[in-house]
Symmetry: C2
Subunit: 129 residues, 2 copies
């Protein structure tokens, strides 16, 4: 029988992972970030450029707003949470059109979240290229 | 235009991620680990017990062998690689039967691999509970 203390440690992120994921699956991404991001959240993207590595809620929201202007989302599928200790992962499929080119595609990514003191302190994105 | 040096750094794991994933998708898991694991690979599982945290090829192979004895795999689906810098993620769905109980289910997990000097130095598993 697993030791309860070990289980609590191993799934420390669950208290954030499950409600955060539920909001994401309901399309409530703004509420999810407002509720669960730490003020000094760090965001790590797999591509280069001005949004590759950001710190702080305002900066990361700036990236989200930039992305929302450049793309039209048709559908989002969210799978997870996949949990281990103080981290959890979500798998996203975003059916979207790049506004500038009109090109529509499905973007696949895995997002890895690190939790500390009941807040997400880092979001790290992994892309399929 | 992205800086080539930045792209190389951001996708440093790709040289391992793509061939490793190809072997996994072909069902050649033994060859994948034999080819790409570092000798001192660390393995981190999300559940407690003797196989939760292991170091070294022999120890991790011991976990794989234990799991293979306890379970019968009917099908494995592998998605990815999802890449960022020196890490990449794979998403696994394993349709398997626990031999002891006869219970069949589909296990979903995300595996996060850390690459150093052309070898996988850590595999970290995230489960859906």
């Amino acid at each position: 029988m697993p030791d309860p203390a070990q289980l609590r440690h191993l799934h420390a992120a669950s208290a954030v992972a499950y409600p955060f994921t539920e909001l994401c699956k309901a399309g409530k991404l703004t509420e999810a970030s407002a509720t669960f991001w730490a003020d000094d959240i760090m965001s790590v993207e797999p591509f280069p450029g001005p949004y590759a590595l950001l710190t702080g809620r305002d900066a990361v929201n700036g990236k989200v707003e930039y992305w929302s202007r450049e793309n039209t989302i048709h559908a989002v599928a969210v799978e997870g949470p996949f949990v281990n200790g103080d981290q959890f992962a979500l798998r996203f499929s975003l059916d979207c059109t790049m506004n500038a080119s009109g090109v529509r595609s499905v973007q696949h990514e895995t997002a890895l979240y690190t939790v500390k003191n009941g807040r997400i302190v880092e979001e790290r994105f992994f892309g399929m290229f």
